[in-house]
């Protein structure tokens, strides 16, 4: 990583797939900004390719994707894979409605963190920081 040690964490936030519920993602964007991070907000209906391009262009440290329509088991692993295929060591955090029973599958797929309903601003910032700290491991 050739960024300065003290530079703020830069996070790409996006909605993957067709789902349009963006309340949570917008709140998370503001929470991360308040926590001193830089947010690259891509918004709705992004593909994994569009997100990978943004991560490359913005030299991002983490990707946050949000899903509310039970698409996480399909879409989240694809996001992880797409970043890996592009040779990017960038952790993926998933937000939205993910039942506990799916957490193991998400971890196995390489998702670095999952934020469910009711996560506080501290939870959100901590989850992203911890995910970023695992880079290079």
């Amino acid at each position: 990583m050739n960024k300065k040690e003290n530079s703020p964490i830069r996070v790409v936030l996006a909605k993957l797939g067709l789902d349009g519920h963006d309340r949570g993602l917008k709140v998370v964007a503001r929470m991360l900004r308040d926590a001193g991070m830089e947010v690259v907000y891509l918004g709705l209906r992004q593909t994994t390719e569009m997100i990978v391009t943004a991560v490359e262009q913005e030299d991002a440290d983490a990707v946050g994707i949000s899903m509310h329509n039970a698409g996480h088991l399909t879409l989240a692993p694809r996001m992880v894979q797409a970043l890996e295929d592009a040779g990017l060591d960038v952790p993926v955090v998933v937000g939205g409605i993910v039942p506990d029973s799916d957490l193991e599958a998400m971890a196995e797929a390489g998702v670095a963190g999952v934020l469910g309903p009711g996560a506080s601003a501290e939870d959100v910032a901590k989850c992203v920081r911890e995910a970023v700290a695992t880079r290079g491991e």
Partner: protein, 526 residues
């Protein structure tokens, strides 16, 4: 109605149908309700939203709900269907049948309503961007079953403006989309007199994070916008306004919600009469559906959501709703199980049959607090209307377009949502089970899981239909549709009905329209 029927409290005290001075329920401006007898004469419709998997799966749930005493159907479509995409579209992978039922062609719609008499049931369809297509399919199913269009009873959400503001399930840009809405309005006005062509919805605006007053104001402003659009298309206001209906959220702040519902009726009545020149009383009466606030449901200790839903349902009923959906307690986690949906319906039945609330219309009318809250909701809404009028140089329709294009609506909603989250985060606002009273209820509840085979089943079915249909007629129908789409003077409903009948898919019809209308892309805006 049995005129001799006496209404008594549980302890035998006889009660009158209404208390207080005028204007009474059933009298302009209908603050106290649109009917004089309210629930004495007729209970609200218990309309439970359902849909998942294939059309056959949802058909089974529909029949269960009707057997359990539900009195109307309400259809949830999956995300690809809502976005006008077929199940075999690359964007649809992983989403087919997940959050609602998958509909690609008329054949799916036939399965969805199999063994249900469309002449007797009332059906609500929650769909917006492609609403005209789904309505066309419904009409075609009825025709196959030998039920006349004029007998069909139901509601199409078809409220595209709030999609740009809140729910984000748009396809085409705002102006051609509103033309499609107007086409549906004039089609149903002439051919389907019992159909509600738009359910002007605040529900999603509130779920996206707005305040109660913003929900009220944005929703009614959208309503005014549709009235202006239909008038501009040459319709007489009294020919369609009586069939416009509304859909509000019922959240947890009990009296604020009741004030909101009462203010909604008063504002609509005044504006329709005084500004839009409606003379028919039915045009002045705001009818609405209510759904309890999905966003208030907590993933923590999910069972306690049953209490939240009961309180919100009560607010909707005291507020004078015409129909109600109660959320299931497990919906912060997944689509509801059958058991959770049953408890939600039973909650309404308790409100209807055990509380005595149905005996007296507008039971809180005359309370200083409730009357003040009603006035305050109206005042805040009027301020917002003024802003939109300024944006639109005197036209609410134009003001709404401008507010969409410059991000005003989404900005207002995002600000309110963030304010709320900060209050919860700081502990200024207590949410039971989330930031207070967090002990207990850790054991997992049973959740509905969608058969992972749904997508394959649906894909196979779609591919069979595409092979067996007459592709020449499909092409002819789609060409006619594109051609007519480029002439704003032509109502598109007949061409869409023709296309669904020859089994053009939803996605193909959308593409034919997109080739003329273009596609809407929201500017990314936090």
């Amino acid at each position: 109605m049995d005129e001799k029927k006496e209404f008594r409290t549980m302890s035998g005290v006889p009660v009158g149908s209404v208390y207080g001075d005028g204007p009474l329920p059933g009298e302009f401006p209908y603050t106290r309700g649109i009917h004089s007898g309210m629930y004495r004469d007729r209970l609200w419709t218990m309309r439970m939203f359902a849909g998942f998997g294939t059309a056959e799966d949802t058909n089974v749930r529909f029949k269960d709900l009707l057997r359990a005493g539900g009195t109307g159907l309400s259809t949830a479509f999956d995300m690809p269907t809502l976005m006008g995409r077929d199940s075999d579209d690359e964007w649809s992978i992983g989403e087919v049948g997940r959050a609602g039922v998958a509909i690609d062609t008329l054949d799916d719609m036939v399965d969805l309503f199999a063994d249900i008499n469309l002449g007797q049931v009332s059906t609500s369809m929650t769909i917006n961007g492609p609403a005209a297509i789904l309505l066309a399919m419904y009409v075609a199913v009825a025709e196959k079953d030998g039920v006349e269009r004029s007998k069909l009873n139901g509601t199409l959400q078809n409220d595209i403006l709030k999609e740009y503001q809140a729910q984000k399930e748009y396809i085409f840009p705002p102006r051609p989309s509103v033309r499609l809405v107007s086409d549906v309005v004039s089609f149903t006005a002439s051919e389907m007199p019992r159909w509600n062509p738009i359910s002007i919805s605040g529900y999603h605006i509130r779920e996206a994070g707005s305040t109660a007053a913003q929900e009220l104001a944005f929703t009614l402003a959208n309503g005014f916008a549709y009235v202006e659009a239909a008038q501009a298309a040459g319709l007489n206001v009294d020919d369609f306004a009586p069939r416009l209906s509304f859909f509000f959220n019922s959240h947890s702040d009990f009296f604020e919600e009741i004030g909101k519902f009462r203010a909604a009726r008063r504002i609509w009545a005044k504006w329709l009469r005084d500004r839009y020149g409606a003379k028919d009383e039915k045009s002045h009466k705001l009818r609405f559906h209510t759904q309890t606030a999905g966003v208030s449901l907590t993933a923590q200790q999910p069972e306690i959501n049953i209490a939240r839903v009961a309180i919100q349902a009560l607010a909707g009923v005291i507020g004078g709703t015409q129909s109600l959906h109660t959320d299931s307690y497990d919906e912060a986690l997944a689509l509801p199980t059958e058991d959770a949906a049953r408890i939600a319906l039973r909650t309404q039945q308790i409100v209807a049959h055990e509380t005595g609330i149905t005996s007296v219309a507008d039971p809180l009318g005359g309370s200083d607090y409730v009357e003040w809250m009603t006035d305050e909701m109206e005042r805040q809404a009027e301020e917002i209307f003024k802003h939109l009028e300024e944006l639109g140089d005197g036209s609410i329709l134009e003001g709404v377009y401008v507010g969409i294009e410059n991000g005003w609506f989404v900005g207002e909603i995002a600000d309110a949502a963030y304010r709320f989250e900060r209050e919860v985060n700081s502990g200024d606002r207590l949410i039971v089970g989330v930031n207070s009273f967090t002990e207990g209820g850790d054991e997992n509840i049973d959740l509905l899981s969608i058969d992972p085979g749904t997508e394959d089943t649906q894909l196979k079915r779609l591919s069979e239909i595409k092979q067996s249909r007459d592709s020449d007629s499909v092409e002819t129908a789609l060409n006619r549709l594109s051609l007519e789409a480029s002439d704003p003077g032509i109502n598109l409903m007949p061409a869409i009905i023709e296309a669904v009948k020859v089994r053009a898919t939803e996605g193909e019809i959308v593409q034919a329209l997109e080739s003329v209308f273009g596609t809407y892309v929201e500017k990314a805006f936090v």
